[in-house]
């Protein structure tokens, strides 16, 4: 395994670390790992580093990147709004130019899952996407379950709404230190209708999809098959994998948690259909 620091994107404003296996096979897809929240490219508890090195030891190249204005990346010249999908596309352009791989897999945690979804919508080079604690959509059952839970709680004054209208990065703007309000990146969960359209598009393109919900989504993702109930069309799709791991807390990761998440992701990447590899 070896690691290289790379500058890419407009004016080389973006920065990332490419981990390459000892014997690199360019026919395999490269894994892209965007930022989780405002943590720089190493991820919470160095999760991204350990994941990238585990991937390299299993023969897969990966790029841990800093989105614009995070970590060691600069503001991208000429870009008015904050959108990270273009950063992922810039990373793919750079790797394509160097024929590092053909096809890409994005693994996104939390805000990174949002970035992954937005990139997958627009870029056909992506052959698989893992969303860890990405978008949550309520169902009748999840709503009833939450309502019942709230009613039966002894301590009800600390009510937390089922799902905030928008999620943003970092998670608590009021607690930021010296950061101006306009610097906080908000992102909105797509409407249910838009998500349905996106899912159909992913299926049409035969993307491998992994959805993982951990304790991080506790208030929003209530039961194991909630995603499938919210989007029943996914039930017919063989390339979707869904894990509900309510006991796992990746934001405050113990080593055991990190190892569990990494193993799960590694197993998923290794099981990606060969079709993806040959693109």
């Amino acid at each position: 395994m070896n690691e290289q620091a790379l500058a890419f994107g407009e004016s080389g404003a973006l920065f990332g670390i490419l981990s390459l296996p000892e014997t690199h096979d360019p026919s395999r897809p490269t894994v892209l790992i965007p930022n989780t929240g405002v943590d720089h490219r190493i991820g919470p508890g160095r999760l991204h580093v350990e994941l990238a090195r585990a991937l390299a030891n299993s023969g897969y190249a990966s790029l841990r990147l800093d989105n614009a204005e995070l970590g060691d990346s600069e503001r991208v010249p000429g870009r008015a709004s904050v959108a990270y999908a273009p950063d992922l596309r810039s990373a793919m352009d750079m790797l394509d130019a160097q024929t590092v791989s053909s096809g890409y897999v994005i693994i996104g945690f939390n805000s990174g899952a949002h970035d992954a979804h937005q990139a997958a919508r627009i870029d056909p080079r992506i052959v698989g996407t893992a969303f860890i604690d990405g978008y949550c959509y309520s169902t009748r059952r999840s709503w009833l379950s939450s309502a019942l839970h709230q009613l039966t709680r002894v301590n009800r004054h600390a009510y937390i709404p089922l799902r905030p209208l928008s999620r943003f990065t970092p998670q608590s703007g009021s607690l930021l230190h010296g950061v101006r309000t306009e610097e906080i990146r908000y992102f909105r969960t797509p409407s249910r209708r838009q998500m349905q359209v996106d899912v159909i598009e992913f299926m049409r393109r035969e993307l491998s999809l992994l959805y993982v919900y951990t304790a991080q989504s506790e208030g929003s993702y209530i039961y194991a098959t909630q995603l499938l109930d919210a989007f029943p069309i996914l039930r017919t799709y063989p390339q979707v994998t869904l894990h509900h791991l309510p006991a796992l807390e990746y934001r405050y990761p113990c080593r055991a948690t990190r190892e569990t998440i990494i193993k799960l992701l590694l197993d998923w990447v290794l099981a990606l259909p060969m079709r993806a590899h040959s693109r």
Partner: protein
């Protein structure tokens, strides 16, 4: 552990194109790998655009969750130092950040050695005559130890929010850990599960005995170092011997609600850089 040879250094040095991949030098920041060949250390060198001062600043980051919070902030500090003519090197200790190594196997002794490698790299790549080691929190304790033991030969030390002693620092970390555990217990509405960490983990990061024990024994401000001390803080009164610099921004290191909030005291960066520029060549 053998250091990188010139040839190996070139293969890790990101300013040199490797395998046809693009150069990673952007602006005046150059990422580089240095130190032991088996576990290269990652650093980011910031060079001033114009004339460079004769003093280079080595920035020693804090540990664990504080390192993570302060990453972008220390980058901003390095750039502010650049604007004041200083070359600055940020780096990750072995087993942390982008550096090589397993985080379970880190030790204070190895990190002191890493600091020596980083100081040597800064001098070698910039040619600066003088060295100022600037440490944040845990990095301040480490920097002082490195200078006191002669591991690093520095002309000045800047201690930013330095804990009174290693024991106090470790005790505060354990206190924060308990606060976090309680916070998570309250958040985990449904199952009431709480944070369970192994004995050699602390605040989500590996905290092996080879790091924990000697850290708890680190001294506070040492009187036995002849170098120029610059004590940087808003909340703590400076020790008598040290030159003090009062910061405009509060630090919030002990606030569990801010464990994941970036540390970006922009006004303080300017104050510190200007002060260093006024006293260092």
């Amino acid at each position: 552990m053998p250091a990188l040879t010139r040839r190996q250094r070139r293969s890790y040095d990101c300013s040199t194109s490797r395998d046809g991949l693009p150069l990673a030098t952007f602006g005046m920041n150059t990422p580089l790998y240095f130190g032991p060949a088996a576990q290269p250390l990652f650093g980011m060198l910031h060079r001033p655009v114009g004339a460079m001062r004769r003093t280079g600043i080595l920035i020693c980051p804090s540990w664990g969750i504080e390192y993570q919070r302060a990453y972008r902030g220390l980058r901003q500090l390095a750039q502010t130092l650049n604007h004041n003519g200083f070359a600055a090197l940020r780096f990750d200790y072995s087993g942390t950040g982008d550096s090589g190594g397993d985080s379970r196997l880190v030790s204070l002794e190895a990190w002191l050695e890493d600091t020596r490698y980083a100081a040597r790299e800064l001098r070698a790549t910039t040619g600066t005559e003088y060295l100022c080691v600037l440490g944040l929190r845990f990095g301040a304790l480490l920097a002082q130890q490195a200078v006191a033991t002669g591991t690093v030969l520095a002309d000045a030390i800047a201690l930013w929010d330095a804990p009174p002693t290693g024991a106090v620092y470790v005790s505060n970390l354990h206190y924060l850990q308990e606060e976090l555990r309680e916070k998570m217990r309250l958040q985990r509405q449904r199952r009431g599960a709480s944070l369970v960490q192994a004995p050699d983990e602390l605040l989500c990061y590996d905290w092996p005995p080879a790091l924990a024990r000697p850290t708890a024994e680190l001294a506070g401000l040492r009187e036995d170092i002849a170098n120029r001390h610059i004590f940087v803080s808003r909340d703590r009164p400076p020790p008598e011997r040290a030159q003090s610099l009062r910061l405009p921004d509060p630090s919030h290191w002990g606030d569990v609600e801010r464990l994941n909030s970036p540390w970006l005291p922009s006004a303080s960066f300017g104050v510190v850089a200007r002060q260093l520029a006024s006293v260092l060549p």
